[in-house]
Structure formats: C-alpha cells, structure tokens
C-alpha cells in the first residue's frame, strides 16, 4: 500500500479559517446583509440621484484613476450619472426582484409539488407533464419570451421568473411527498378523519418546508443572474431604472474605448451577491437537509 492512499473517512486537516468558513459561511452572510442594508437605505446612502446625470461630466473614471475625483467615487456613466448611486439603487432592484421571484416560484412549485405527490393519479400526471414541457424550453429563452409578451417592468419580471422557475421546486417537493405520504403520521391523520386539504397543509407542508428553503437560497442566485440577463437584453427592468443588468448593457457603450468601471463594477456586485447566496445555500443544504446533498 502506498502512503498517499486517499481516504474518504478521515479528511486531512485543513486550516482553521477554511474549516470555520465551511461550518458557517460568515463572509457570504455579511455580504448579503450589507447588500440588504444598502438596498434598504439607498435613499439615505446614495450621494446622487441615480437617474439624473449631466453630459458635461460623462465617463468620469473612479477616484483613484487619473481624471477621477472624490466627488464621484466610482465614476460616471455615458450620460453622466453617478455609478456608486446607481449601484446602490441597483442593489434594491436585485433584492426586491430576487426575493419576490423566489417567493413566487417557491409558493407555486411547492403547492404543485405537494398536490401532485399527495393526490397522485391524473393530477400528478398533468402537473408532471407540464413540468416536463416547461423544462424542454431553456429557462432564459422562456423568460425572454414571456417578457416580450407582457412588456418590461419590475412586477412583470417577478411574475415571469416565478412562472419559469417553479419546476425545480415541484420536482423535488413531489419526490419528498411521495415518500412522506407513506409514513405513519399521515396514515394516522387519515384515520383521524382529516380532510386531504388539511393533511397537505398541516402535515405535509411543514415537513417539506426545509427543502423549500434550501432550494430558495440556491435559486436566489439563478434568479438574480436571469434578471440581470433579461435587463441586459433589454427585456427586463426598463431604463432609466438603475438595475445591475441594465448598467452592464449601458456599459457596453464605453467598453471598446476602455471605460472598464462601467462593465466591471456592476458585474462584481452581481457576482458577490450570487456567490454569497450560493455559498449560504450550499451550507444550508448540508445542514438542514441531508437528502438534498445530491442535488
């Protein structure tokens, strides 16, 4: 036997920082809280109006670069709007759209998943075939499509993303309900004379809510990226609202002449938020729900 045999049972000791990070994603949580804080208090924190600019001061670089000033810390965009203020208000858009869309998708998917799994029969067939159909169309294409129908607005984006991303919840939750409904406590509830609606609401739902929460955390990242992609393509949040995806689309105007801050900064914000949500979701997945580890 060679000495470098990899063993799964006893992982090699890792540095303390890493282990702590693995145990509780402190930094990602702090980042998410910071973004939430900025989103809530954008009115107070932002130095300028995010939608009003002046062509006289367009394309100013960030303060540490030549030509930049402390007046506009992160520079200005193609119509002279303050990038920092727009990023702050953009956090609000991402937070609202992300959380609301995840909530809509989660509610819809969990409901359909429970109903399909618990009732079975033709209801199950209909819902699952619908899920298959939804999945045959790439989510982003579907979202672009729906956005073209209902027109761009924040509320529409929330409904669209909810209407596109419920399938994952439906599949996972249905699978769990299938095994839950064979359990004793459900049989007892039936014997005790509970109605089916009541069993689903009082006995099944509390048992799948953990999975729904884990999925929601993992979906938050997906939803935020999709919202950014839709805004980038011009079918998401309508201009001149400050959304990160929209800022990236505007940033293209200065990209070829090297105005990097208009492209890099909004992307970094998206990355920080999505990465944090994913890290937190991964941790929750392992802690809350061992069954979901394979997901």
């Amino acid at each position: 036997m060679s000495t470098i045999t990899p063993t799964i049972a006893a992982p090699a000791p890792v540095s303390l920082t890493w282990r702590r990070l693995k145990d509780f994603p402190l930094i990602p949580t702090l980042i998410l809280l910071l973004i939430a804080f900025v989103a809530i208090f954008a009115d107070v924190l932002a130095p300028y109006d995010p939608q009003i600019g002046s062509l006289a001061r367009r394309f100013r670089p960030p303060f540490w670069q030549e030509g930049g000033s402390m007046e506009y810390l992160l520079g200005t965009d193609h119509v002279g709007r303050d990038v920092l203020s727009r990023l702050m208000y953009g956090a609000r858009v991402s937070m609202i759209v992300g959380l609301a869309a995840v909530l809509v998708a989660g509610a819809l998917g969990t409901f359909l998943g429970i109903v399909a799994g618990f009732l079975g029969g033709w209801v199950d067939q209909v819902i699952m075939r619908l899920t298959d159909t939804w999945l045959a169309l790439p989510a982003l294409t579907f979202a672009i499509f729906l956005a073209a129908i209902v027109g761009p607005s924040e509320l529409n984006i929330i409904i669209i993303l909810g209407g596109v991303y419920w399938t994952r919840y439906a599949r996972v939750i249905r699978g769990e309900v299938l095994s839950l409904k064979e359990r004793e406590f459900v049989n007892l509830a039936v014997v005790a004379g509970c109605s089916r609606a009541k069993i689903m609401w009082r006995h099944i739902l509390p048992n799948v809510i953990n999975s729904a929460i884990v999925l929601a955390t993992l979906m938050l990242g997906v939803v935020i990226v999709t919202e950014a992609a839709l805004s980038f393509l011009g079918v998401g949040v309508p201009p001149p609202k400050p959304a990160w995806g929209l800022m990236l689309a505007d940033g293209k105007k200065g990209l070829m002449v090297g105005y990097w801050w208009l492209t890099v900064l909004p992307g970094v914000c998206i990355m920080l938020m999505v990465l944090s949500a994913n890290l937190l979701g991964d941790w929750l997945r392992v802690k809350l729900d061992p069954q979901l580890r394979q997901l």
Partner: protein
C-alpha cells in the same frame, strides 16, 4: 421493457405537443406582426392584406393545424421578415451554434474533468477547496459578464482577439470560454462526486491490494468508470448549449440559433420562433428520452419502477 419505452415515447410526444401549443399561443400574444411590417400610417386595408398573405386571417385552430402538419413534413414555413424558408435560416445558423457549443464543450471538459479528479483524489485538501471555489464561481458568474470582461481584457487592453463576429478561429475563443465556464463547473462537480464513489468501490480496493501504482489505479481503473456519468451529462449539455447561448451570442454578435430566436421574438416572426423553439425542445426531449432508455437498459430497477 417494450412497455416502458412505449410509455416514455408517449410522454415525450405529449411534451412536444404541449410545447408546440404553448409556443404557438404565446407568440401570438406578443402582438400583431403586421404592425411591424407596414409603413407608418398604413390603412386598415393594407394590414388586412398582410394578414391574408401571412395566413393570419384564418381561425387559430386552422393555423395551428397547418403549422403542425407542415412541421411533421419538415416544412417550417416562410419567415415573415426575411421571406425565406425558416428551415434555410435555421440551417444557415446551425453550423455556427454547433461550432460554438463544440468548442465550449471542449473547454468545459478540459477544465472540468482534470480539476474534478484532482479534487476527488485530494479530497478535503487545498486542491479540493480551490476546486469548489472555482466551481461555485463558474455557477455564480453570469456568462455575459464573463464575456464582457474577456472583451475588455483581450480586445481592448491586449488587442489579441476580435470582439465580435465569426469566421476565424480567433473569433470563437472568447464566446466559447464564456459559455463553457458555467458548464465546466457542473462537469467538475460531477467528476468529483463520481470519482469519489468509484474510489470507494471494491474493485479499486482490489487494484490497490494487487499493488498497482497509485497513478495506474486512478488513471485506469477509477477514471474510466467515473467518466460514464460525466459523458452522459456532457451529451445532454451539448444540446443545452446550442439552445441557451443567446446572451453570449448577443455579447459577441455571434450569428447562431439564439440570435435567430431573439430576433424572431422581437420582429414577431411567428414561423421563426415556432420553428426554432420546437426544434430546440425536440432536441432536449429526444436526448432525455435516449438517456432514460439507455439507463433503463442498464438498470432494470428503473424500468420496473413506475
């Protein structure tokens, strides 16, 4: 087994039917294509004429029937906007999409498989953690942003690669990387978990007991078997790549299927949208069907379960 296959095929056909119906109805909700085709200030009569020419004056069920009947015969109709057969438009763009997907897939496997193996062999150590971070980054970065940053670095600052269009090998590098990274992360994750499973199996233990060198155990016995699920996923993802590249194609002005669909939606070009979506959906449904059947052939438990 026959029954299982029949049921699977039936479900797939049902999904395709629902998909075609959904897309047929939804695209008609986006508005009247005639409004985009006429000059401003056209009379109601002009619009009427266009409706008649495009067949939009007929009842909905008849339009749907025509669409399905000609689709089955391989005729996707004429594009409202280009006035050429949709199939020709599709086949013009398909090579570009295939090229992009193939190179992106090569990137994703070249990055994903070695890093996945490394992470599995060094599980819990630095390489594993680095791999996990890399995979999470890949899943967290929007591909279009990766594309924009690539343009910034390699076109604007370094001047090495062209930022848009297609034609030479240099054109495909950046879009393929932007598209491939996301999938590299997925392939890395699967390679890692698949390798871990195989490394814990009896025959790998036996190979070690025989005294084979570790490199041979991992390279020959473990790797080959761990690769099967990864190749399956890669096959599915290749089809997915062809159909989800719209944002990357937009960033790099890459003339692929995604752009065709996107333009179709903006111009309310019903035949183009219907054709592209149903072909794409058919590809995905077919690949899933193939995977289901192959798995059922390999593993009897799947076909016996309902």
């Amino acid at each position: 087994m026959k029954q299982y296959i029949a049921r699977r095929v039936g479900y797939s056909l049902l999904s395709l039917f629902l998909l075609s119906l959904t897309i047929f109805l939804f695209i008609r909700l986006t508005g009247d294509p005639a409004a985009l085709l006429v000059e401003p200030g056209a009379s109601a009569q002009d619009i009427e004429n266009i409706h008649r020419r495009l067949g939009l004056d007929r009842p909905l069920w008849e339009q749907y029937w025509l669409f399905v009947a000609s689709f089955v015969q391989g005729d996707l109709g004429l594009s409202f906007y280009y006035r050429t057969p949709v199939l020709d438009l599709y086949l013009q763009r398909l090579p570009n999409s295939l090229l992009l997907a193939a190179v992106a897939m090569a990137f994703s496997l070249l990055i994903g498989i070695p890093s996945g193996i490394l992470a599995a062999v060094r599980v819990g150590r630095m390489w594993d953690s680095a791999g996990k971070m890399f995979a999470l980054l890949g899943l967290s970065l929007p591909s279009f942003w990766v594309g924009l940053v690539l343009i910034l670095v390699f076109t604007v600052w370094l001047g090495w690669l062209p930022s848009s269009g297609a034609g030479t090998a240099a054109h495909v590098v950046m879009p393929a990387f932007a598209l491939g990274w996301y999938f590299a992360a997925a392939h890395m994750r699967l390679t890692r978990s698949s390798m871990l499973e195989v490394l814990g199996s009896e025959y790998v233990k036996l190979a070690r007991l025989k005294g084979l060198p570790e490199a041979l155990v991992i390279g020959k016995h473990a790797f080959k078997n761990a690769l099967i699920p990864v190749i399956t996923l890669a096959g599915i993802n290749l089809v997915v790549m062809i159909n989800v590249a719209v944002v990357v194609e937009t960033v790099f002005a890459w003339p692929g299927i995604g752009r065709l669909l996107y333009e179709g939606i903006s111009f309310r070009d019903f035949p183009v949208v219907q054709g592209v979506v149903v072909i794409g959906g058919a590809m995905i449904v077919l690949v899933n069907l193939a995977v289901d059947i192959v798995y059922a052939l390999i593993d009897p438990r799947i076909r016996l379960a309902r």
